[in-house]
């Protein structure tokens, strides 16, 4: 019952696992291999690493793909997806299990279609159709946007709703087209050429919602790619989802990840523009206020210098000019900048007060309405109106109790 190797001491578990690991590492096949199969038990760990199994109908193998490597995958792996992975097989000593350490992962099974795509992409790239210098810049604020997509798809619905939200003033012209099937490329080309020929279209969005690689096939058509490259009007491609890339995307002036994103790229957010216009409006207002304030100071200075001679006539010309201007400003201006009218009324009142023809010192008073406008006549005054009276050392608020009209015998 004794076996031939029982003279050896028993090995530690870790020694066995270490030994197997060395065996694996020495095997030429296991150090680099490609495996095709279906993903199952996929988890994307919060550490960034991916853990899953690859299976066929008889067997499965554990796989791990570290963060550094899986960042390069241009699609979202999920259970049931058929992929080709490459990497090496090694032993995880702690568990005594072996697994594939995956370095690369590609979608599998698209076969001819995918190869044709890669070949066309390479050909057009070599011709320079994707070159950055060919790309036209988008207009900042287009007046009219041309759209080529299905009139019944989610894409046009997304585009219209985003345009309405972001920049409702923009016009949109849809040219409905088939977006999948054999007739689709021809249909899309006809629509693009028509919109490009129109003078009033500033930018064109062409695309559709997400679909399988086959369903997006129209956008991998060579004739369509060449048509897009020839268009004068800037083109935004908007095909499928984030992770779908088509030939149309490479050749368009701008690639948008989705139809919604295309709509967002095509117009500015009106809130940004509202901020911009409010800001310049305030600057204009501020300039005008500075100007008025300067005029006031000039007038004030003149009055101080001249108040003991006889300035009345020449100054009153200036005063009348300013009066007129205040009235114009008040009439023309605007509800939006709150407080503006009040400030204006304040200047007006200060001007009036600085008039040397009204010697407050001698006991005269200036009567104004609640807006600071000087009341010169009983015309328009009604009982119970509130008025302010400015005296030499302060002012008071009063209510009108009675109004008497005077006989017109003064000059």
């Amino acid at each position: 019952m004794k076996e031939g190797n029982d003279h050896m001491r028993p090995l530690m578990v870790s020694e066995v696992n270490g030994y197997i690991k060395k065996l694996f590492a020495g095997d030429i096949l296991l150090t680099y291999l490609q495996i095709e199969g279906e993903i199952s038990n996929f988890t994307h760990h919060y550490s960034g690493h991916m853990y899953f199994s690859l299976k066929d109908d008889k067997s499965r193998i554990k796989c791990v793909m570290f963060k550094n490597d899986n960042e390069a995958i241009d699609f979202k792996p999920k259970d049931g997806m058929r992929v080709v992975i490459s990497g090496h097989v090694s032993v995880y000593e702690k568990d005594g299990s072996y697994q594939v350490y995956v370095r690369k992962m590609e979608k599998q099974g698209l076969g001819d279609l995918y190869r044709a795509f890669e070949e066309l992409k390479k050909k057009l790239a070599e011709e320079g159709l994707f070159d950055q210098e060919r790309k036209a810049p988008l207009p900042r604020i287009p007046k009219k946007i041309g759209v080529v997509t299905s009139s019944t798809g989610a894409a046009i619905r997304d585009i219209t709703s985003i345009l309405k939200r972001r920049y409702p003033a923009v016009n949109m012209l849809l040219y409905p087209a088939l977006v999948q099937g054999d007739g689709a490329p021809r249909d899309i080309i006809k629509a693009l050429k028509y919109l490009d020929s129109r003078e009033d279209i500033d930018v064109i969005i062409v695309g559709r919602g997400g679909g399988s690689f086959e369903e997006l096939g129209a956008f991998n058509d060579e004739a369509l790619a060449r048509c897009i490259a020839d268009l004068v009007t800037p083109v935004i491609s908007a095909v499928g989802h984030e992770t779908d890339f088509t030939i149309a995307d490479f050749v368009a002036d701008v690639r948008a990840a989705t139809p919604s994103a295309a709509a967002e790229l095509s117009v500015p957010d009106r809130r940004t523009l509202l901020d911009e216009v409010s800001s310049i409006g305030s600057s204009v207002l501020g300039e005008m206020e500075k100007r008025i304030s300067r005029e006031y100071d000039k007038l004030d200075g003149l009055m101080k210098r001249l108040s003991y001679s006889s300035p009345y006539r020449s100054l009153s010309d200036k005063q009348m000019e300013l009066d007129g201007i205040f009235r114009q400003l008040e009439h023309s201006m605007f509800r939006r900048f709150s407080g503006y009218r009040e400030r204006l009324a304040g200047y007006d009142a200060r001007l009036k007060l600085s008039d040397p023809g009204l010697p407050l010192e001698k006991g005269y008073g200036i009567v104004t309405d609640p807006d600071g406008r000087i009341i010169r006549s009983i015309e328009g005054i009604r009982l119970k109106d509130v008025i302010s009276v400015r005296l030499k050392d302060g002012s008071l608020k009063a209510r009108v109790e009675e109004v008497f009209e005077e006989a017109k015998d003064e000059n």
Binding site: A154, Y175, Q180
Partner: protein, 84 residues
């Protein structure tokens, strides 16, 4: 150009010009009031453009061999196919 015909960029550019003239300080008072009024009229117009204006949404349709523009029935239409 009439203010009501200005698009956003044209209007904004004109306000910038007016602002520069106002800042230049070489205008007579009455002139500066005119410039100010113009700037504010454009300001109102641009705000209207951003807050009230609604662009048209149309589609090109082929009818009897010629292309025609019609209103595109916007939201809430029947028959949206989510797969597109």
């Amino acid at each position: 150009m009439k203010i009501k015909d200005m698009n956003y960029e044209e209007g904004y550019e004109r306000i910038q010009e007016l602002l520069q003239e106002l800042e230049g300080g070489e205008l007579k008072l009455q002139e500066s009031v005119e410039k100010f009024k113009e700037a504010m009229d454009i300001y109102e117009h641009l705000r209207g453009l951003l807050t009230k204006a609604e662009g048209e949404v149309k589609q090109v349709l082929e009818r009897d061999g010629s292309l025609q523009e019609e209103d595109f029935p916007g939201q809430g239409q029947e028959g949206i196919d989510e797969s597109y």
